[in-house]
């Protein structure tokens, strides 16, 4: 069969409006964080907390600039992640064999790593902003050096993301035959059967709910205990990390097929579509917020002994624990609804 899809050789998807939007956002973020980096270098070199020289006053002003820049950068990154998912969904209409975002993401080697890097980016920028907010609340800017070293370390990640994104978009070609989510996530026989009661599904769900319960009780314990016990916080911080990955796996191979009411359809992206009322958005937002707050708790506990931060860190710790519990409850309710509705009421509601 003669292929008919070869219309325009070269980076077709880069010139597509979605590809261009991603590039524009990346350029903006590079510009913002790059400018912030300039202040970072100056601050790391010349910062003298006690001094009242002109340079020091200038640097204190520049802190405002860089923090605003990074805050905007984070906002842009969030939009970029959203656009990326939507773009992948649109690209699926143009790539042979692809039917949803999964297909477009796997159309070349860079799609999936790019998604991971973008997600990681959201967390890391968010942590930076938390550090910054803490720092601003103390008289003597105790976290300045830490904050700017962190920013320096973030830059390579940003460069990596931009590179991956460019490679991904230039490498996408409508001629490449890729797989649809039914093939990718349904390939394993064991996973395909969980609606009928496959063992793997139940074990996984038990692990999922078990970990959620542990995180819940550890949160409640931390809130009620008189003394802060760092050990519990660190362990549950790690627990949040594991839970994030586990939750993504559970959504992909168990929960999603109950939302679609199709035993062989496992896909974490199709739940974002309008056909399923976009239920994926609240699910993913609550999951990311819960895990982010879990991470923030660890930061708050780590910094509780820094001069001038004792009180703020304590407040932040209590707030982030409460927030993470609320978000976790929301996530569990949203993601379990279809699953349990099926077993209890025996159908789709």
């Amino acid at each position: 069969m003669t292929p008919v899809g070869r219309i325009a050789p070269g980076p077709v998807m880069l010139i597509n409006s979605w590809g261009l939007a991603l590039c524009i956002i990346s350029l903006c973020v590079l510009f913002l964080v790059g400018t912030a980096l300039r202040s970072a270098v100056r601050v790391l070199r010349y910062w003298q907390p006690g001094s009242d020289s002109n340079l020091q006053i200038e640097l204190e002003n520049e802190i405002w600039l860089s923090s605003t820049l990074v805050e905007y950068g984070l906002g842009f990154q969030m939009v970029s992640l959203l656009i990326f998912i939507m773009a992948a969904d649109r690209f699926a209409q143009m790539i042979k064999g692809a039917m949803c975002a999964t297909g477009s993401l796997l159309a070349n080697d860079y799609g999936a790593p790019l998604l991971v890097v973008k997600l990681t980016g959201i967390f890391l920028y968010g942590f930076w902003i938390v550090l910054h907010q803490l720092d601003m609340r103390a008289e003597s800017y105790p976290l300045v050096r830490l904050k700017y070293r962190y920013l320096l370390a973030l830059f390579p990640l940003l460069l990596l993301e931009t590179t991956l994104q460019t490679l991904y978009l230039t490498g996408l070609s409508p001629d490449i035959i890729t797989s649809c989510c039914a093939v990718v996530f349904g390939g394993d026989k064991q996973l395909g059967q969980n609606l009928i009661g496959g063992q793997a599904g139940w074990e996984l769900m038990a692990l999922f709910y078990g970990l959620a319960l542990l995180l819940f009780s550890s949160g409640l314990y931390q809130l009620s205990a008189r003394r802060i016990s760092p050990g519990v916080t660190y362990v549950s911080g790690f627990g949040w990390f594991v839970f994030f990955i586990l939750a993504l796996v559970v959504i992909t191979i168990v929960v999603s097929s109950y939302i679609y009411a199709m035993p062989y359809h496992h896909c974490p992206f199709c739940i974002l579509k309008a056909e399923y009322d976009g239920i994926g958005y609240p699910i993913f937002v609550s999951l990311i917020s819960a895990c982010f707050a879990g991470g923030v708790t660890v930061i708050a506990v780590l910094l509780r002994n820094v001069d001038g931060l004792e009180e703020t860190a304590g407040c932040l710790r209590r707030f982030s624990i409460r927030f993470s519990l609320v978000m976790l409850a929301m996530f569990l309710a949203l993601s379990s609804w279809h699953f349990w509705a099926y077993f209890i009421m025996g159908g789709e509601y």
Partner: protein
């Protein structure tokens, strides 16, 4: 006195609005230009999106599989008797010859699409609505769209003639008129019987332009297409899905290409916005100085500038997008249609119903508002760190 953070932001927003109003000439100019840029980007995106969804309807005439003959990589007539060789292939419910060509009208420079189908196929046609009359049955009868009728200057008459290649004339009689609702598909079509089309184009007996194949099970279309390609290696076998992807890619590429051109407009606007925001007058510096004396912190002034940007960008976004919608819905996207609809000269009355969805809004937003915000941060910071004692 401690006020809650929300009230604080609302107060800042209030102040931002009044400060925007005080400099309404400067801000109005920015707003107008920004709205214009968003209008350009938005119309382009909306138009290509609308056309893209109409592409689906364009396939109303396309059979599941189309077989065309190729010689030296170009399409040539194919023998209609190939159909007999397809008869024994499993999965095919029907295959029929068709003549699909273009007729160039010397009088007015229009290009009509001539579609000649067998009687059975015309009889089984769905997805096409007639405004009046009936589909062609007897020899010499055709169905046309109102646009074609107008272009042929028929007025009240129904008989007309077209030139054959040897300049002799072929006469036709309009038996039916397509409804305007299907203009995207039927806008430039003259539908007639296979024999009439063959006569018009003076094609040899038994030759057609392509063979359409109907497949019973949609899942099997690719398999059947592969089998056909194996049996007739000299042909090109197209499936409906392939044609659809091609449309999507072409539209995506065309709209992207147009967007690249609009990038220039965007870039110059961003430079303008950043320039306007950084050139502070003495008045403005004094104002910031006074605010600082009154107890405003650097963050407050940054927040103030942020609200100003948000108000300008939000207003420009609303105005630009509404204009774009009007442009596409009521003026058929006249500014950009030539770029996007390029394969036929005659498509005069194509009415488009743009559909706005969240994804497109977000796309236009990230194209326009985000670069604007990024461009105004540094000027905002410059103004926020002005020291009170140096300006007052």
């Amino acid at each position: 006195m401690k006020i809650n953070p929300l009230q604080r932001q609302l107060n800042l927003l209030d102040y931002a609005l009044s400060s925007l109003w005080r400099r309404r000439m400067k801000n109005g100019a920015i707003l107008a230009i920004f709205a214009f840029v968003i209008f350009l980007l938005g119309s382009f995106q909306l138009l290509s999106q609308t056309l893209q969804s109409s592409a689906e309807e364009l396939l109303a005439f396309a059979p599941d599989i189309t077989i065309q003959s190729l010689v030296a990589g170009r399409q040539t007539p194919i023998a209609a008797n190939k159909i007999r060789e397809l008869a024994d292939m499993y999965g095919i419910t029907a295959s029929s010859p068709r003549i699909w060509g273009y007729y160039f009208d010397h009088d007015n420079g229009a290009n009509y699409t001539v579609l000649g189908l067998t009687e059975e196929e015309i009889g089984a046609m769905t997805g096409v609505i007639l405004e009046s009359g009936r589909l062609p049955g007897a020899p010499g009868e055709v169905a046309v769209s109102p646009a074609v009728r107008q272009s042929l200057d028929l007025a009240g008459r129904s008989a007309f003639s077209l030139f054959r290649p040897d300049l002799s004339q072929a006469s036709f009689k309009v038996s039916g008129l397509f409804s305007r609702e299907t203009d995207i598909v039927t806008g430039d079509i003259i539908l007639m019987s296979l024999a009439d089309a063959r006569h018009l184009f003076a094609m040899p007996e038994d030759m057609v332009t392509d063979i359409g194949v109907k497949v019973a099970n949609p899942v099997e279309i690719d398999n059947v297409a592969r089998k056909i390609a194996g049996r007739f290696p000299e042909t090109r076998v197209l499936t409906r899905a392939q044609i659809r992807k091609t449309y999507q890619v072409v539209f995506g590429w065309r709209s992207g290409f147009g967007s690249v051109c609009l990038l220039a407009a965007l870039a110059s606007f961003v430079i303008l916005a950043s320039d306007k925001a950084s050139g502070l007058s003495r008045e403005e510096k004094r104002e910031i100085g006074i605010l600082k004396f009154l107890g405003f912190q650097t963050t407050d002034i940054l927040a103030l500038r942020f609200w100003e940007s948000v108000v300008v960008a939000g207003l420009a976004f609303l105005i630009g997008l509404s204009l774009a919608y009007v442009h596409v819905a009521f003026f058929d996207g006249g500014l950009f249609k030539p770029v996007l609809v390029g394969w036929s000269v005659l498509r005069p009355d194509l009415s488009l119903a743009p559909s706005l969805n969240g994804a497109d809004l977000l796309l236009i937003f990230s194209w326009s508002v985000l670069p604007y915000l990024a461009a105004t941060i540094i000027p905002a910071w410059r103004s926020a760190v002005i020291r009170a004692d140096t300006v007052v």
